[in-house]
Point group: D3
Chain length 201, copies 6
């Protein structure tokens, strides 16, 4: 019986392949070019693996499987409630509104999955940003946005909003850059590529 | 000075041309075909004009300008907060959360517009669904979804979700069909076209 | 019986959501990004409402409902004959050829609509550019093109043709800028934004 | 000096790669899937080559180079005036209006080309439908539409308009089917594939 | 220094977000709807996690981190050489040609990455299909194609090629269905959904 | 019986309308804007006709029909094996691998075509680059890439890869520029347009 539900869950998650990352629309990226949640999740998962491997190489202790699994599922709820835009958050009574909505959606989605407690637990851990693993996934999430912004600018996008987004994400990344040498290095490298793209187009 | 702001508002509202109507993603409509908020608003405005003219012809008293203006602006807030999906609403503590968010966004957007009170007033009237004009715009909104669903099915879309959407919208339309003869007639006609499209594809 | 026809008309007008504004193709805007007639009509209708409200605020006398309705329907004929490109007009024996074609299409389309005389009358008024309302809709039409051009340039489009289009539309707007203070102000503001986008990309 | 003009002509003709074949919009094909004039011209040129080779094999006398060159350029004017839709032709005083427009555009486009007389002559020959070569290109044009319609239906498109188009094109093809055995055979084969696709979707 | 290379690698891998899975083109899926390698890799990674967790629950011994990492990188080489189509493989002297090409591309891409041996090793393990982990990733890869095929059919795609693909993938899945109960169950469930979609559209 | 096969061949070749030219993906051109093989083949065929006519005008002896037919079919094999990317060729044991694959695909595709020997012969002649006609088609192929690159840059694309591609194609064109005056002139003209587009965007 659980497998029937797995089939349905796979079909449901397929929806992430057409679910746009809404933040880009405000930067004037058209629907035909907008990143979707599946592409984004792949990038975050990939970067999480890179960061995890680097930390291990430096002698750090990190649970690579937990980190990568967290990256895989961090945006699953969006298959039910879409990507709630960054720009809309200031109009909520509290950030908790968005969290509660996504928690509810994830719970509904995993209802009959035998591992629902594990997956919901990973998501809660991600939202709390306390463990090393969850912090690495958040850093990977921010880095993935910087990479994508550079590629959109490479295609000609020059809205004020994409520059604002860049600045905001770099700010979000600061605590992680301060904590992890590897993140600081990647961020500096991406910033230097970004600056080499004339902002004045 | 107000005109400077009008320029900015026009550029801001242009964003509605790339802002997708998220409900269709859940029906498996891909980003390249998904209706955007500007297209939708045009359809709602057009249908509002038709309904208004029909009511007038039948001797009803309706303020055509107010109705059409309300239709034009009913989704403006989405240029700031995107289209909050239907499927996400059940995960909110109350529907008021969405309303408050959109009210805040609209206020921000109109901040320096000399007619801000008029436009915000029209939006509040729309949200309350009490006046004849606001009820006509809501009916137009629902009818526009039925029309679009038929066209997507004409292109081959046969998800269970598009059938569920159809049923939900027809239900939303019921009080309006009961109240206005013209709406009942259009709804019946569209239903007959929908049924003639084999649901079994 | 008329309602059956209304259903059909709604399905017909839905076609405007996929009907491209051909002028942009000549500017090298690809099909996936090209503005469609529904989006354009929404922009023109919105700007018409803004202009109307501003004129009223300045104490002018303008029939807001008639102006907005005219904006809604000014391009309906294109659901039957597509958007005849600007660049093709010089190859016609007279501009009347295009007008006659669109008049015929609109007539066919409204054939069984109880308000056909009203709608056809509004379209004729629009084409004649004599009344205040029709002149405001024409100005709104030109302003909407300037706004869209800025947004395309924001995405990187830098064809010679988009600059030529800008110059041509500004010229078309001249009589309206001379007549209406608000239009002159918006035009100047948009021009200053346009100039701030390096044409040399 | 003529080569400079050749460069410009190549850039101009590149525009055919984004110029949609408008007839498909009326069949509910969205912009992201609509055939463009370059794709269409390639199909017509290819089919012209096949037909030419078949006629030669049967012992017919046909100038293969002239036929194929005619196919290559038969829609060049659309880089200047876009694809005038089939559905709009009945609103013209005479079919000559479209012909004159395209003739003017082609003339302008070829203005400084050393072979302008050859190319314009081939286009006139095509428009007159008298020579064997021009008749073969027209047949190829119609066959290419039948092929494309089958492929759109394979993707789920089931509008009444695509069925109407099929019938209209088959009718246009009749004189050619009557004249050329090979055309009749291809048409019959395509019809049998079309019929095997349930029209009732 | 390695971090500079990591930046470049991230920008390189971003390319997977626009790299289409070529097999779908032969099924008549248009470019605007075609799955890309990043979306596909996300699906494979997700399914790998599900399968791994299920096997663990059943008491199996599987290295979850290695399996998921293998899924993440199994198609990285395509950022350099694109997705080599299924249909082209029979024209190669041996399947080894494709393997050698991808091995070379991956090596080039990871040239300066400190973990290159680990990543290349995981890829070789994947290609050999011998370990439990690599077999699970292959099964996940096949299951992801079945899921995507169902979603394309839900949008109306009814080419013979998509049916042929279904049959071929089910055949490829057979040894895994025989080996793993969970895979057999998912495959049966998906097959029952597929069959419920009329193939006769 | 051969005609049945012709129908099938036409449907097969239709696939070239959705088959992307993979090289552009590496330049960061998104799928919604990427040139397809049919568009490309049209451009190559057109340029071949121009070059042929120019050579004839200069008194050269060239078989125009053979040249143009060769251009039409030079990429047909890609309907079976997709467009093998430029960047992947260095990972092949020898260029012969790609040639053998395409030869096999073309042979399969033409299996029952009465002119298969003619078409296969033209393709072999093209691959050998020895005859005047085949050399002209290769030059046309390279020129068409330069034209397309300029148009992509006009839309804002500014990846390092598009500049590298430009340089590589110009190098490939060198022997043809040296041999044919007309080709040198077009290349110089295109280069001057390219240089006038700031590479620094």
């Amino acid at each position: 019986m659980t497998e029937v539900k797995l089939s349905e869950l796979l079909l449901k998650l397929n929806c992430l392949k057409i679910m746009p990352r809404t933040g880009w629309f405000f930067c004037n990226v058209p629907p035909s070019e907008v990143e979707d949640v599946a592409q984004h999740s792949f990038a975050v998962t990939t970067i999480t693996m890179f960061l995890t491997d680097e930390l291990k190489r430096e002698g750090g202790e990190i649970d690579g499987e937990r980190a990568v699994n967290m990256a895989i599922l961090h945006d699953w709820a969006e298959a039910e409630v879409a990507d709630f835009p960054y720009t809309a958050q200031k109009y909520l009574a509290s950030p908790e509104v968005k969290t509660r909505m996504e928690r509810g959606a994830l719970k509904e989605m995993l209802q009959e999955n035998p591992e629902k407690e594990k997956y919901q637990g990973l998501w809660e851990e991600y939202m709390e940003k306390k463990t090393l693993e969850s912090r690495i996934v958040h850093a990977a999430d921010y880095l993935s946005i910087l990479v994508q912004a550079i590629k959109y600018r490479e295609r000609g996008i020059r809205s004020k909003e994409i520059e604002d987004l860049w600045i905001a994400v770099k700010k979000d990344l600061e605590p992680y850059s301060a904590e992890f040498k590897i993140i600081k290095k990647i961020e500096k490298e991406l910033s230097s590529i970004f600056r080499a793209q004339p902002s004045s187009l």
